[in-house]
């Protein structure tokens, strides 16, 4: 027995949906439409918090994500890295320490550092910024790192003894960082556990680090919002759309800005299929009742 129109509306072949998604993503990427990118207040708060780091401030920068989420976290990380180095060029007293509690995140950080002409070969490496690489053991690792940086990260990303880096020489604990630098901003680009809740438990409460900004995958954003409400974090860069907003704010359009048209188109498609499915459902329900 052939299906009625209403039944077909509720049972669209998934391959048709995927094909339409593929076309609707590809089309704006090849032919950009330039749809507007309104800036959310939670993204603007993050931008303002980074810009507000004064000369002589410290930025702790953690990349806590893997390759799987690079589509969202990659543009966020890239946006932040461009901004913090631009900021350091304007305020030379700012110091930056890169690290990560996800091993793949540290590799992505290192790749982006190379793209910015920074890293191992840069004469300023170790003086104005350092890349400590991966710190294992998730939440326990956070607690141990905070208590003894030189034992937990004995070597930096490039195999240097961190005691030989001028920036790290006197910074033995997280308390040393908080005591030495009057303004400490913590940036985390993350996609899961370990992530913000662990940082709040191991760093914010014991060491009173109040200036925290988060960039996360869109899936994680609803879980972050209660922390914005309580003031435990300043703001959130929400997925790819947040990254696009951030690119607008730092005036460096990139991968995320190019993807927002495609994102909007696919959302229209999802909404359309939700509506079609519901029409089919209620029509069928009405028929059964009658």
């Amino acid at each position: 027995m052939s299906k009625s129109v209403w039944e077909r509306m509720m049972d669209v072949d998934r391959r048709v949906i995927y094909l339409l998604v593929f076309i609707l993503i590809m089309w704006p990427l090849v032919q950009p439409m330039g749809l507007p990118v309104p800036i959310a207040s939670i993204t603007k708060s993050v931008y303002d918090a980074v810009e507000a780091v004064p000369d002589g401030g410290m930025i702790l920068f953690s990349a806590d994500h893997g390759f799987a989420s690079i589509g969202e976290n990659g543009p966020q990380l890239w946006g932040f890295m461009q901004q913090v180095f631009d900021l350091q060029a304007r305020k030379p007293g700012i110091r930056i320490i890169f690290f990560g509690f996800w091993m793949e995140g540290t590799l992505i950080t290192d790749t982006y550092l190379k793209n910015l002409g920074k890293g191992r070969a840069d004469p300023n490496y170790g003086k104005t910024y350092a890349n400590l690489g991966w710190i294992p053991l998730a939440e326990t690792g956070m607690a141990v790192w905070a208590a003894d940086i030189h034992r937990t990260s004995a070597k930096d990303m490039y195999g240097n003894d961190i005691g030989t880096l001028p920036l790290m020489k006197d910074l033995k604990t997280l308390k040393d960082i908080v005591d030495k630098y009057p303004h400490v901003l913590f940036i985390t680009v993350e996609s899961g556990t370990p992530g913000l809740p662990e940082f709040l438990r191991q760093w914010q409460e014991p060491y009173n680090i109040r200036k925290i900004v988060v960039a996360c995958t869109a899936v994680s954003t609803p879980g972050m919002m209660p922390y914005v409400g309580t003031g435990q974090i300043i703001g959130v860069v929400d997925g790819l759309s947040g990254a696009a907003q951030y690119e607008v704010l730092i005036r460096k359009p990139g991968e995320a800005s190019a993807g927002t048209d495609a994102l909007s188109m696919t959302h229209f498609l999802v909404i359309a299929f939700v509506v079609i499915g519901n029409i089919g459902y209620f029509a069928m329900k009405g028929r059964k009742v009658s």
Binding site: R14, R15, Y18, V21, F22, I25, M26, L29, V30, S41, I42, A68, S69, I70, G71, E72, G74, M103, E104, W134, P136, E139, T140, A143, T152, S153, A154, K155, P197, E198, L200, R201, Q202, Q204, E205, P206, T217, A218, V219, T221, P222, M225, P226, V228, G229, T230, G231, Q232, D238, G239, L240, S241, E255, A258, G259, A262, L263, T266, H267, V270
Partner: protein
């Protein structure tokens, strides 16, 4: 002119991306190959990273700097993990496990009450006077409408999960508000999940349609689709 390694790497990346996407049509050997490659690559990469960290942070202090005593306990506990593979010494595996679990819980518990309980309760104690009715510049910020919504929705959600009293009168209204709040939360979660998944697809499709990638994309797409189509056709023929 890009280097030969770059061209080769981009063709491999395009092939792997398309092979993963081929699963959308149906299960096939291209996808299976990439799935295994991904798992193997990830495990190998993780192992190499861990070994590198161990060499830098444990082997060098012990074997080069001679700090034997500081690492004796860690070394013994580390070895005990391998008792997991012995029926006779299996019980010894519980020692490092207990220490790991105990340390983890202990570290989390010391601040969880403050960081995730008291702060969240404090976050719902919001002013209803002295705040603007609505702040269009900071829609997520403190305003009368937001504060009323947060207070009502938190109380409603908590009452929804209170099961020892029959849902009647005010309690029923509270639970109903809770139910709608949860549904709104799940709706926001679903919307964000869609956005996250689409973002990942956009990232890979964006890679495929880059001008320098388009030839690889077209040729490899034809190859993969052609082989999948051919195998499907032969399977159908055999079945017939």
């Amino acid at each position: 002119m890009p280097e030969i390694e770059v061209i080769f790497a981009s063709w491999v990346a395009a092939l792997l991306t398309l092979a993963v996407f081929s699963f959308i049509y149906k299960e096939n050997p291209w996808f299976r190959f990439v799935e295994h490659l991904y798992i193997g690559g990830t495990i190998g990469y993780n192992m190499a990273f861990n070994i590198d960290w161990l060499v830098k942070n444990a082997f060098i202090p012990v074997f080069v700097k001679g700090q034997y005593y500081e690492y004796v306990l860690a070394f013994i506990l580390g070895l005990l993990w391998y008792c997991r593979f012995s029926k006779r010494f299996f019980w010894l595996w519980r020692f490092p496990l207990s220490i790991m679990v105990g340390t983890g819980i202990g570290l989390a518990m010391r601040t969880v009450v403050m960081a995730q309980f008291i702060e969240q309760i404090r976050g719902t104690m919001l002013p209803l006077v002295g705040v603007p009715i609505w702040d269009p510049k900071r829609v997520a910020g403190s305003s009368l409408i937001n504060n009323i919504l947060i207070i009502l929705m938190v109380i409603g959600t908590v009452s929804y999960f209170y099961f020892t009293v029959e849902r009647k009168g005010a309690f029923k209204i509270g639970a109903e508000i809770g139910k709608w709040t949860i549904m709104l939360g799940l709706g926001a979660g679903f919307g964000n999940t869609v956005m996250a998944r689409m973002s990942l697809a956009i990232s890979r499709i964006g890679f495929l349609v880059k001008p320098e990638q388009q030839i690889a994309f077209l040729i490899l797409a034809i190859v993969i689709l052609g082989t999948i189509g051919y195998t499907s056709w032969t399977e159908k023929k055999k079945a017939a």
